[in-house]
Structures are given as C-alpha cells and as structure tokens.
C-alpha cells in the first residue's frame, strides 16, 4: 500500500471502534439497542455472577487446586500456586457479584458500564472456572505455565485469521473464506518448504496462497458483485477440494518428496525467555509467533492511527462518502482483502511449519470459523480480536487438559464454548457488537 502514511488526522473525529461513538445516523432507529444504556449487560453479568456463586462457590469442590507456575528451565523458580477450591470459588464469585452490582448501580444512574468492568469480570469468571475444574478433577494439579503457553500456540492461527477478517470487514467485504485462506496457506507452506528445504520460502508462499484465495473473493465480490457470503462459502469448499485432491494424488504418493516441510523452530530470546509465565509466551516463540504480535500491533496502528486506516474505515462505513472524498472505493477494497488473505495465509503456515510436521486433509479443522467468531467477539478491533482469539485458544487447550486430568465437565462443552460465547456476543447479551456499516454491501457507483 502506497499511502501508509503515519500522519494521524488530528482534526477529524474517528469512528470509535469499541463504543460505537458515531454510527451512521440511520442506525439509531434501525437497531434494537438504540438507547444509550440498556439493561442487557448488567443483567447478564448479574446472572453469570449468581451462577458462579452457586456452582463455583457454594457447590464447589473441597480439594486444593495446584497450579504450577515455573518450569525447569526458568532462571528463577516461583512456588506453585495452591488455592483451596471452595474458598477460592467463594471469594472470586463474591467479587464478581460486587462488579455486577456496580454495573446495576451504574445503570440505575443511567451511566455506561466501563469496559474494564466487563474485562475484569471475564477474567475473574475464567479464573473461578479454572479453580473449579481443577479442584474437582481426579488430578488436582496442572501447570499454569503450560496451559497458557499452549493456549497461545493454539491461538496463533486464530489471531492471523481474525486479523484477516478485521481487515476485510473494516473495508466492507465479509470474509467467510478465512478457513480457506488458512487451509491454502497450510498446504502451500508444506509443499514449498518441502521442495525448497527452506521454511522461509514456505512462509512466503503461504502468504501468496492466502492472497490468491482472497483475490478470488475480491474479484467475484467486487467486480462481479456476487454476494460476498456465497463466494466465501464456496471458496472454502473449493480450497478444501483442491488441497484434498492434491494431497491424495501428489503428497501421499511421495511423502518425503512433497510433504516433509522444513520447520521453523522456536527462537528463545536469552534471559527474557526464561522469565516464568511471561517468558514462554512472549520470548520463546517461533518466527510466526513473533510475527503474530507484530501483525496485531501493525494492523491496529494502521487502522486507527494512519491516513490509510482512516480511508479504509471510511470505505467500510460509508463508501459513498468516501467516494465523494476521492477515495477509490473498490480498489481500496480489493487490496485490503488481498492483504487480509496474505495475513491469513501466514497463519495457515503455522499448522505445517510449526505445529505439525506435515500437511493432512482439512488440517485447519474449522479454525477459520473460530477466527470469524473471535473477530466478532473482539468487536472488529485487532486488539479485541487478539484477546478473543487467546480466550478461544485457552478454551481449546483447556478442553484437552480437562480430558487428561479427568473432570466431571464433558470436554465437548468446553469445545462448544467459543461458539456459545459468540452467539451471546452477536445477540447483544455481552456488550454490543456492531459491524462496519457497509460490511457485506457491494459498492456500485451510481
């Protein structure tokens, strides 16, 4: 992009991403939640807090949950955290009740519930849930460091996928094809990294493959004005078919020649990488892991602090106005969608270059749709999408740990969690998710 100028626009009010400061005027009377403050959030918090108090507190297990914090390689050791499950559940759920009460109090004064209340509530709820699960298990000890590091690992493709979705939707194109972009990236990375024995070329090829999938999406939805959701759905099937076909005919015939990609090994930053808890997350990642952090920051700064980002969001919110101001709407859309595809492609390469040592059919396993969920739960904001993806990665990781340590919670319900949370989010029960106004609407100059 030629105009990634870093000069912010001081005079112009920017459409607030989180609290929907200035949605188009017509939205005020078309959406249900037009009133400035609704009862939804306080009531939802209150219900969740009561549920937590009853299940995690009063009916909580009476064992002691043990969370290992340090691993052997850390340069200083912290003792394991031991929490009496019953007491911990009571204390945490009482704090949650207090937060919910605060939200209700604010509502009675007709004031908005600040974001930190919601975020703190979610964190407390997750912590209480964790204590409850581990305290009630057969083995009442897990490694917190391993749990969190594993969550980040599982979240990497989700973060890239949801960043792709953010870029596309912010510019007004719905990207259902994240799954296909991830899968295409994974496949291309595997085959190129194998043929060239160079994982970096594999990474580059994955980005190109993702961009190509995106270009088809852009071509059909912008040039031929085909419904964007139709193209996205069909592209997922197409990529799944092509990669599955080539996997069966080419890769399986000669695995050594075509499907044993060179790997990107974790790069440990000296000293910093040995800090307990934080070290493995921030400083002991593969190249793609570091790229993830860079991508989140770059996309956020780009979208909200640069001229380019202002244009992108203008195109996504009100293409006619953007056009009037001289922004080339459809070209902006085309290149943003392509860029989004490249990012998702890199995320896909994580499967074959880092996580697993070869490509298999459907290796992305529906994570493109979880990425879509993360982007919605993160309210179309790169940072929000990042934390939502982490949360879903955490749920994914907890699901396998729950199966191992043997708790009464069926692992299938853990797996269901991201989808349930997303349904609650889009139904407006947890805050209000508003997509960019022109997302999904093709722009045809009159």
């Amino acid at each position: 992009m030629s105009t990634t100028a870093t000069s912010p626009q001081p005079g112009k009010p920017q459409p607030a991403p989180l609290d929907g400061g200035a949605p188009a005027a017509k939205h005020h009377h078309t959406t249900v939640t037009a009133k400035p403050v609704t009862w939804k959030l306080p009531v939802t918090l209150l219900v969740l807090a009561v549920v937590a108090f009853i299940f995690f507190g009063l009916m909580g297990p009476h064992q002691t949950a043990k969370f290992g914090i340090s691993t052997g390689s850390d340069f200083f050791q912290l003792p394991a955290l031991e929490v009496p499950a019953f007491l911990g559940g009571i204390v945490l759920s009482v704090i949650m009740l207090a937060l919910a009460g605060y939200a209700v109090f604010l509502k009675t004064r007709n004031r908005k519930v600040p974001a930190w209340v919601t975020i703190a509530f979610i964190a407390l709820f997750v912590a209480a849930f964790l204590i409850w699960v581990v305290g009630g298990a057969r083995t009442t000890s897990i490694s917190l460091a391993g749990l969190i590091a594993g969550s980040v690992t599982l979240a990497v493709p989700l973060v890239f996928g949801s960043l792709s979705g953010v870029l596309c939707e912010r510019v007004g194109v719905v990207n259902i094809a994240i799954e296909g972009q991830l899968l295409g990236g994974a496949f291309t990375a595997a085959i190129i990294a194998t043929l060239t024995h160079n994982p970096f070329l594999g990474l580059l090829a994955a980005a190109i493959a993702g961009a190509l999938v995106s270009m088809i999406l852009a071509l059909f939805s912008i040039k031929y004005v085909v419904n964007q959701i139709i193209v996205g759905v069909v592209l997922n099937v197409l990529v799944s078919g092509v990669t599955g076909f080539l996997f069966s005919t080419v890769m399986q015939a000669d695995k050594d020649k075509f499907n044993s990609p060179a790997h990107l090994d974790p790069i440990t930053i000296p000293v910093l990488g040995d800090i307990p808890l934080i070290g493995p997350i921030l400083f002991k990642q593969s190249l793609i892991g570091y790229l993830m952090y860079i991508a989140v920051i770059v996309v956020w700064v780009g979208l909200f602090k640069t001229k380019w980002g202002l244009r992108v969001r203008a195109v996504g919110e009100h293409p006619q106005a953007a056009d009037t101001m001289g922004i080339k709407v459809n070209a902006t859309r085309f290149w943003n969608v392509t860029l989004g595809g490249a990012i998702a492609g890199i995320g896909g390469s994580f499967f074959t270059l880092v996580a697993i040592d070869s490509f298999t059919k459907e290796i992305s396993g529906g994570r493109g749709f979880i990425a879509l969920a993360a982007l919605i739960f993160g309210r179309w904001n790169p940072i929000g999408a990042f934390f939502a993806a982490l949360l879903f990665g955490f749920a994914d990781n907890l699901q396998s740990i729950v199966t191992i340590i043997g708790t009464p919670v069926p692992s299938q319900f853990m797996a269901m969690l991201p989808y349930l949370v997303t349904v609650l989010a889009v139904a407006g029960l947890v805050g209000r998710s508003r997509p960019p106004a022109a997302s999904g609407i093709p722009y045809v100059k009159g």
Partner: protein
C-alpha cells in the same frame, strides 16, 4: 443509489476485458465508467437496491429470486445463449473442463508426455484427454448407467444409488433455497440435520411403537427438531438483529459438539460399545425400501418429491410464501406494506429447518439406521451449493440435488476404478456455483456477451489499466 435500480442491458462487460485474469480487477475498479459497466447485469443491478445503503441487500442475487431472464433486445439465438438456463449449462461445462485439467495435471501419463511436449504434442494432448475422460466416464458409470452390470437391474443400480444420495441433498437444499427467497442466508442446514437426527433416532431406538405410527413419530420428531433449531436462529435474528450467517455457523458447531456429547452418554450410546454410536433403529422406525431390497432407495425420496411440491406451493401459491418473497426482495417495503417481518423471519427459518430435518430423518431412518457423529456427513454444506445451483427455485433445487447426488455416487466408483480422489467432486461443485453466480464471467469465457460498444469499452479498459494505482 437510485441509479442502480435501472437495468442496463447495454452495459455488459465485453469479453476482451473480462477474460478472468487476476490482474485486471486491480485496474478496473479505478475508472468509474468501467465500474458501472461491470456490475450491471440486468439481474444484479436490481439486487443492489439497498435503499441508499440504509439496509443490507438481499443475500441472494435477484436472478435467483425471480424469473427474470437476462437478455437484451437482441436476436432469439442470443437470448437463448445468454439466458440463465444456458449460463447454468455452460457453468457446469466450464467447471467440468477445469476439473478435468486438474485431474490431468496430476496424471502420470500426462507428466510423462509433457517431457517431450514439443517433440510430439499430440501425445500430450491425447494423454490429457484420456486422463480426464477416463475419470468422467467412471463417474458416469458409477452414477447413472453401468454397462457391465448384470441385467437391467444391475445396470441401473448406480442410478438408484444416485437417487438415494440425492434424497437428503434435495430436502436440505430446499430448506436453504426457501430461506434464500426470504433473503436469509441459511448456512445452518448441517446443524439442523444433526438436531433432527438426534431426535429422530432417539424416537427410533428408545421408543417401541407399532408399525406405521413409529415411523410417523420418527419423521415428526426429526422435522420438529430441525424446525426448532433453525427457528431459534430466526428468533434471535428477529429479536436482536444478529446476523443469521454467524448464528447458523455457530449453531452448526454447537449441534455437532452436543451430538458428540450425547453419543458418550448412556441414553444414546449402544450398550457394550465404546465407540460413539447409537443403537440400531427399530425395524418399525425405518423407511421402507421402495424398489425392493436390492436397492437402498427408500421412502424418503418420495417424501423429497412431495417436499419439492410443497415448497413450490408455499412459494408460488400461498400467502405466507408471498410474504417470504416480499421480505426477501425488500424488507422495508414489506414492513411498510403491513407484513410482519419478524414473524416471517422466524417462520421461514422454521420451515427451512423442518426441510433440513427431513434430511436428518432420511439419514437415520433411511440409509444409516444408526446415529453417529457423521450423521450429517457434508450434506448441510452441499445443500448450500445445491440451492445456489438450483437458483433457489424448488424444481431447480430438485434437479441440482440429483446432479450433486450423481457426483457423490459416481465419485466413489471413480475413486475405485481410476484412483481419482473424491475431492475432485468438491472442486467441480464449487466451481459450478462460482461460475453460476457470475454470469458475465461465463459469457465472457464463451464469448457470448452482447457485442455493443465493444470498441469504446476496449479503449476505456486500456486507459484503466494504465492509470490504475491502488489507493
């Protein structure tokens, strides 16, 4: 935005410009003149009525909602060749050609002859031809008529298999198509099939009722299961404005994990079995095989025909169907005209779910006779492509269901005989839908666009290509 309402027949993109290379759109969207020409097929132009951007356009191209046949005031021949029916045929042809090229590209004989391509090109092209045709012949023999079968019964066995596999595709496709017509994008057929399968199979193996009544209850349970699951989406959409695409995708996964959970509980797991599989349904709870026991074809196919007639009747002859179409064409106008849009949304989703539920019943009471976590296979997702190929009309969906049923049935034989993986069916299927959704592209590939203002347009696209710079 009012200008977009005008159909512009004269504004078809010309073949020279829409050859389909990826580089072109980088340039074309920059020039206003070119933009307007691209987008305004007579059908797509009307689909872009967004009331000045105040509302989302219908999820379905209007070409799929009405009987408008695009075609200018040209000759009769051109009308036939540019009509939507012809585009569908050409789209299928183009997809088959591309699929054939993909098959050939991985064929050993082809790559061997490619080594001396310039010495004897005929070898290369005959190898490409035989690789592609061998697979497609096997596909045909596996889906319609097998000349090596014993007697007429054996020779037509593949056709019966096609009809069997088409059954769930047709009913689920009808569900998706009906929702399309009301402007709703129902990606949730997969989850609706699963929920229907859960309820129907439970009635089938847990209750022991007399013949006839039992099967009826199984059917009702499945239909209600699908209707409730989809109706919940309609309710959430109507009440909270949440987008149905996101909701249905999420509901698919919730249904799948719910099914996996149930299959590990004593209520659903077969006694003495460690695998997640349910008991076999009672003989009184399964569809009878309508053409004798040598074929798997079951009563569900007759019900699929009945469902097609029902959907046709609802859409074209009933008041509620008129309301559905009105909501799909323009929700604001429908609201102004006194139509209860939330009610129509919930109702159309419920009926769509009921139709998908019939697919679930066809699976557990027709072909599988047990409940596993693969009960829906990929029928729910295939149903979307079926509905799109059928242009959201009941009989079009029926025909598309038969075609994709044939692909599915034939692909198994194709894989056995020629080693061509089943995945090629996914490729061909998705290409068909992509091409059908973009008639200008197909017409451009076959050189069928109206020859108007060609010289002028060619010049314009050239200037666009030279001046096009990304914003």
């Amino acid at each position: 935005m009012t200008e977009t309402n005008r159909p512009r027949h004269a504004a078809e993109p010309d073949p020279a410009k829409t050859a389909g290379t990826a580089a072109q759109p980088t340039a074309t969207p920059n020039t206003p003149d070119v933009e307007t020409t691209d987008a305004t097929d007579a059908t797509t132009a009307t689909s872009l009525d967004t009331a000045g951007g105040a509302m989302r356009p219908s999820a379905v191209p209007v070409s799929g909602q009405s009987g408008i046949v695009p075609g200018g005031p040209d000759s009769l021949m051109r009308k036939i060749f540019t009509g939507s029916g012809m585009v569908s045929v050409l789209a299928v042809l183009l997809a088959l050609i591309l699929g054939g090229l993909l098959i050939a590209s991985t064929d050993k004989a082809v790559s061997a002859s490619a080594g001396y391509l310039f010495a004897r090109p005929s070898d290369f092209f005959s190898a490409v031809w035989s690789a592609a045709t061998r697979s497609y012949v096997a596909l045909f023999q596996g889906s319609v008529f097998n000349p090596r079968g014993t007697g007429a019964a054996g020779q037509f066995a593949p056709l019966m298999e096609t009809l069997t596999i088409a059954t769930p595709l047709i009913t689920a496709g009808l569900g998706v198509a009906l929702a399309f017509r009301a402007g709703l994008f129902n990606i949730g057929a997969q989850g609706q099939i699963i929920m229907a399968g859960i309820l129907a199979s439970w009635v089938g193996f847990a209750l022991h009722l007399p013949m006839g009544l039992h099967l009826l209850l199984v059917l009702v349970a499945g239909v209600v299961g699908g209707a409730l699951w989809a109706g919940l989406v309609g309710f959430l959409k109507a009440r909270t404005g949440a987008h149905e695409v996101i909701l249905t995708i999420m509901f698919n996964y919730i249904a799948l994990y719910f099914l996996r959970y149930l299959l590990n509980t004593p209520a659903f797991q077969r006694p003495g079995e460690t695998n997640p599989i349910s008991p076999i349904l009672d003989p009184s709870a399964v569809y009878p095989q309508i053409l004798g026991t040598q074929y798997r074809l079951h009563l569900g196919f007759i019900l699929a025909i009945a469902a097609t007639v029902f959907v046709w009747w609802v859409l074209n002859r009933s008041t509620i169907g008129f309301e559905f179409r009105a909501v799909g064409a323009n929700p604001k106008a429908a609201l102004t005209a006194g139509i209860n849009v939330p009610r129509a949304t919930i109702l159309v989703m419920a009926i769509a779910g009921a139709l998908a539920g019939m697919s679930g019943v066809a699976q557990v009471a027709g072909t599988e006779k047990v409940l596993t976590d693969g009960v829906a296979a990929t029928y729910g997702f295939d149903a979307i492509t079926v509905a799109l190929l059928g242009r959201s009309t009941p009989w079009g969906t029926f025909a598309a269901g038969l075609l994709f049923g044939a692909f599915r049935a034939g692909a198994v034989q194709m894989q056995i005989q020629t080693g061509t993986p089943i995945d090629i069916v996914l490729v061909v299927q998705s290409l068909i839908v992509l091409f059908i959704a973009a008639p200008p592209l197909v017409r451009a590939v076959f050189g069928l666009n109206p020859r108007k203002k060609k010289a002028v347009k060619a010049n314009k696209s050239k200037t666009a290509a030279t001046t096009g710079v990304a914003a």
